[in-house]
Symmetry: C2
Subunit: 434 residues, 2 copies
């Protein structure tokens, strides 16, 4: 169900056009450095949770042109014969530095730096951006929804609204890194070890004559993990049906789910019905077009909700559906470079981020400044310097980094940001090149 394109063709055509010229000009092996960073944070974001590093490593280490790809490029006349010959030898033998996955980053701070030959580093641009932009976007969105839920568990329900199957899987993984407790997507358990969970659909209820019959059957077949969807016909009648089904089976449902309606009023009424009916232990979970803003409003208004299922908003980061990360040449042949004009300019040279107690400083790689350096070598001479971190470790790192942020930076609306300082040497270099 997912398109089987060779990774090496997941490039923008301009990368091939440029490669052709680099080769013809004898610049294909020029040593260069690119950095991947977000110029600005998306609206309402005070920080980013970096994710997608594992895929970035794969982009680089697996970059080879197979015969089939080369044959296609020849047919498509995208490349000169000389370039086709050169592409057949492409391999990333350079260096990758990055902050550990799950790290909080701010605008302008490099999430990763790629060093190698010009032709190869340029070819990796599109896929590196594609992978890191999306996973960072969703880990960040998830962290906001988890913040809004204020200790209540949040489950990813979003696969059906994700941008294709791969997007749904990556989102489930990134959501877990960002603090969700589970996903409804079974394959995310299979591939990534993300905990999975599930309830029932309205169609399940409708396939039975009554709510009570549907609930009795479900409780009997899932005595240990039963969340009953009570709003198919009417949530209060559904809550009473859950009580009746519980009495008939002797099984206490773990939770009831409400997917529509005025959730403040309904959850309070359902809570009372359940408590009076002897289901005081049964939790109430809500779903249905929720996001961090709505969750915060519901809880502030006193809704009786114990957990949330969040779909569309989480999986698509609906209020900011793209992260505008860019991949910019910062050094070529040992010379620091920058695009000088306007808001799209970048910082010249290779950088390190020094994380301070209050804010960060971006300096040049050979500077030794106060604070914890964020970027560490991940690949050297094209090879991994260590093992990839297990997902649980990445998730814990994200949680710890988020907890360390000032509350004003984690605000859901109009948060404060922590723009990094620039070291005096970097400022001087920027001035000189401008």
């Amino acid at each position: 169900m997912i398109a089987a394109a060779p990774n090496e063709l997941l490039v923008d055509e301009y990368e091939l056009a440029m490669a052709d010229s680099y080769l013809a000009e004898g610049k294909d092996s020029l040593p260069v450095a690119f950095e991947l960073f977000a110029r600005d944070l998306p609206p309402h974001r005070g920080y980013l949770v970096a994710a997608g590093l594992e895929r970035a490593v794969e982009v680089l280490t697996e970059l080879r042109f197979c015969d089939e790809s080369l044959a296609y490029l020849e047919r498509a006349r995208n490349c000169s014969p000389e370039l086709l010959e050169r592409l057949a030898t492409v391999e990333f033998t350079g260096r990758l530095d990055a902050g550990p996955a799950g790290t909080v980053v701010h605008a302008r701070e490099p999430i990763l730096r790629v060093e190698g030959d010009l032709l190869t580093c340029q070819l990796a641009e599109t896929l590196l951006l594609n992978q890191v932009n999306f996973q960072t976007l969703i880990a960040t969105k998830a962290s906001r929804i988890v913040t809004a839920a204020n200790g209540r568990p949040v489950v990813d329900f979003g696969f059906r609204r994700a941008h294709g199957a791969d997007a749904g899987l990556l989102a489930a993984r990134a959501a877990y890194i960002g603090g969700c407790v589970a996903t409804a997507t079974v394959a995310a358990g299979y591939l990534y070890g993300v905990p999975t969970t599930g309830t029932m659909a309205h169609s399940y209820i409708l396939s039975f004559p009554t709510d009570v019959e549907a609930f009795v059957a479900f409780l009997q077949h899932h005595p240990d993990r039963s969340t009953l969807l009570i709003d198919t016909h009417d949530p209060l009648a559904g809550a009473r049906a859950a009580i009746a089904a519980s009495r008939e089976t002797g099984i206490v449902p773990q939770a009831v789910r409400i997917d529509s309606g005025d959730l403040v009023e309904l959850t309070c009424e359902v809570r009372e019905v359940l408590d009076v009916g002897g289901l005081g232990e049964t939790q109430i979970v809500c779903s249905g077009d929720l996001d961090e803003y709505r969750i915060a409003d519901l809880l502030a208004a006193g809704a009786a909700i114990d957990g949330f299922g969040v779909g569309t908003a989480l999986t698509t980061s609906n209020d900011a559906p793209a992260l505008g990360g860019v991949y910019k040449l910062v050094e070529a042949g040992g010379r620091a470079v920058m695009k000088a004009r306007g808001p799209k300019s970048n910082l010249p040279g290779r950088h390190q981020v020094f994380r301070g107690v209050e804010d960060d400083t971006i300096g040049l790689v050979d500077e030794d400044l106060p604070g914890r350096p964020l970027l560490e070598p991940v690949l050297e001479a094209g090879r991994r310097t260590g093992e990839a971190a297990p997902i649980e470790e990445v998730r814990e790192r994200a949680a710890a980094e988020l907890a360390a942020l000032p509350e004003r930076v984690r605000a859901l609306r109009d948060p404060a940001t922590l723009p990094p300082r620039l070291s005096p040497r970097l400022r001087a270099l920027e001035e000189e090149l401008r």
Copy 2:
């Protein structure tokens, strides 16, 4: 680079939980019908361009549980032993009806209808929604951007901001269906035959000492297809550099590209510089955070633009990043069913859409009403009734259907919609079940 999950695990866990109960209750083989439709159109959409049908066919025809998937489900304890045994025999032997890909559809109109046994049809829910929602979303967004460009070519530049690699590929394909002329994503040419095109990045310019040297090299190596990026340092100086490079090489650049700045003023100035410098044939293409609204505004303000590259907005449908399509049980055991409560109710029974000259009518499948019936059999007894339409045919159908829409429905902001009528028999059935 794309997650290799077996399709049969691309399900929400609740589908397995429901399947367990269906099986235990002896309802797994109950004949049912589900319909996939959008209850409402996303903001600012007056219509949808249906896409993703080919993938929907694959979802159904390829649905099997391989040994590895069954072993995972056993380990994960998602299913009873009885269900595992039943899943091993799952195969879609039912019927699929759909409008042809590229068809314009309206709110509440079924994009497809699936008929078969309850267990199998329920298992297909998540992946069908995932595929059809996204591709329809992007084909629709593309058609809006193409409308705004008013005859000027639009190229997809969005892979780097897409939600993973598969999303970028599907978006390139859907964008072409929606009217874009090409994509920058090479693999979309390889996989789907979408025309590809490319220019150069700022990093290309920065790897040369001057714009002129960068342009001379590019023109020499790409004499037939050269779009020169002129805004790395300054667009007017860049335009003069293009003229100088053209004089030096004797090659006329096909186009120049501007990716930043005040595009109304800059394009008019650049046009004048090019015309005076003898490059009257050289086109001006623009990119950089464009969408349908901005394109319409630029053209209305008199910008001298001959073509557009659109990235983020196109690939993520940024102003409406999800289509809320749903998959609802409409018939079970020969009995029409509906979720009765509130705004999430659906039309009961199996439907046909009759396309009239002014608007559509939704009736029951056995009605014979005026207008062209949209849904046609695509699978019967689990097998294709014919060949999949080539992408060019789908693209032409979309163009013809869009051209037939009233202009007020194609408006970019607050468009009119064409809500379908309901046949008297359908209205009576709805009333009866309510």
